[in-house]
């Protein structure tokens, strides 16, 4: 359980996040009591829903973005392999595949231990995440739609 100082720092981090999103001119839905906010961004191909959350216990900011489609049940194995191919090729963040529901979620966490959550750091969290999602979401969608197979998917990231 976070102490009062950690909660204050988390609140400051959350305020900085909100101010940054306002600065981008993005509409957002706030969940102040959960230190979370949600917004949507248009990517090159698909809309990206993002949730930003401040975790006072770990002094961690996490960006979560659920892809707007699920893997069909019969492609569970292909998607498990695809997420490992993606995660082996990216520098920061991960594509977390839920093998039960078929949901694919991108997650990037950033610690603010011994530093402020500055505009530069928030910019990094958002830009790195959006670039990574944008580079993969259309290919994952094609895999889900069966317009490409796993071998073709793998070649795109080889």
């Amino acid at each position: 359980m976070a102490d009062e100082k950690a909660l204050l720092r988390a609140r400051m981090a959350y305020d900085n996040l909100r101010a940054h999103i306002d600065g981008r001119g993005w509409q957002h839905q706030d969940f102040d009591d959960q230190l979370s906010l949600r917004c949507s961004v248009n990517g090159q191909d698909l809309v990206m829903d993002i949730l930003l959350h401040v975790n006072p216990d770990f002094e961690l900011v996490t960006l979560l973005s659920r892809l707007p489609f699920n893997a069909p049940q019969e492609l569970q194995m292909e998607f498990a392999i695809a997420s490992n191919i993606l995660n082996s090729n990216i520098i920061d963040g991960s594509f977390d595949f839920n093998i039960y529901s078929g949901e694919m979620m991108f997650r990037l966490s950033c610690s603010y231990i011994d530093r402020e959550l500055t505009n530069g750091l928030i910019e990094y969290i958002i830009n790195c995440s959006l670039d990574t999602i944008d580079a993969a979401n259309d290919k994952l969608k094609s895999l889900a739609d069966k317009t490409i197979d796993l071998e073709q998917f793998a070649h795109m990231f080889a």
């Binding site: 770990f58 961690l60 569970q76 194995m77 490992n84 082996s88 520098i91 991960s94 990094y124």
Partner: protein
């Protein structure tokens, strides 16, 4: 930030990383030309070998630990499913299975933007990585050896 400033900042972060490792008492190997530090931590069951590098271009610190076993070809689909299941359960970092060669790594990345490595940051990186790896490495190993089925892994 200019390229020169990025190089300067990466070098400063690397110096701070080495200083924090010195203060922690961890014995480590340095490769100054690559801004890399390597060390081993003894876990509850399997020793954990860590590789921390400062990436000048991307301005991140990457902590990587390869598991000391390899998924044979006939176990890689199970390994991929197990890696997905484990990654979904952790707060920071991910298990990445290279489905082409069978190597499994834990990867924890931290931006060095507007920050450096302090004792608290190093402590977070090591304690987070050790806790996560220690929880899963023996199960991955048991999955490879066949002493744990995929269903048992998912239920554990």
């Amino acid at each position: 930030m200019s390229d020169e400033m990025k190089i300067d900042h990466a070098n400063e972060v690397y110096a701070d990383l080495c200083a924090a490792l010195d203060r922690s008492g961890i014995v480590y190997e340095k490769d100054v030309s690559k801004l890399v530090c390597k060390f081993t931590v003894n876990g509850a069951d399997i020793p954990m070998r860590y590789y921390i590098s400062v990436d000048t271009v991307r301005q991140v610190l990457m902590m990587i630990s390869y598991m000391p076993f390899v998924f044979p070809e006939d176990k890689r689909i199970e390994g991929a499913i197990a890696a997905c299941h484990s990654t979904k359960r952790i707060v920071d970092g991910s298990f990445d299975l290279n489905v082409f060669d069978g190597y499994l790594r834990y990867r924890l990345t931290s931006s060095i933007k507007d920050g450096t490595v302090t004792d608290a940051v190093l402590n977070y990186l090591i304690s987070c990585a050790c806790a996560v790896i220690d929880e899963f490495n023996d199960k991955f190993n048991a999955l490879i050896k066949g002493s744990l089925s995929l269903d048992e892994f998912l239920a554990s």
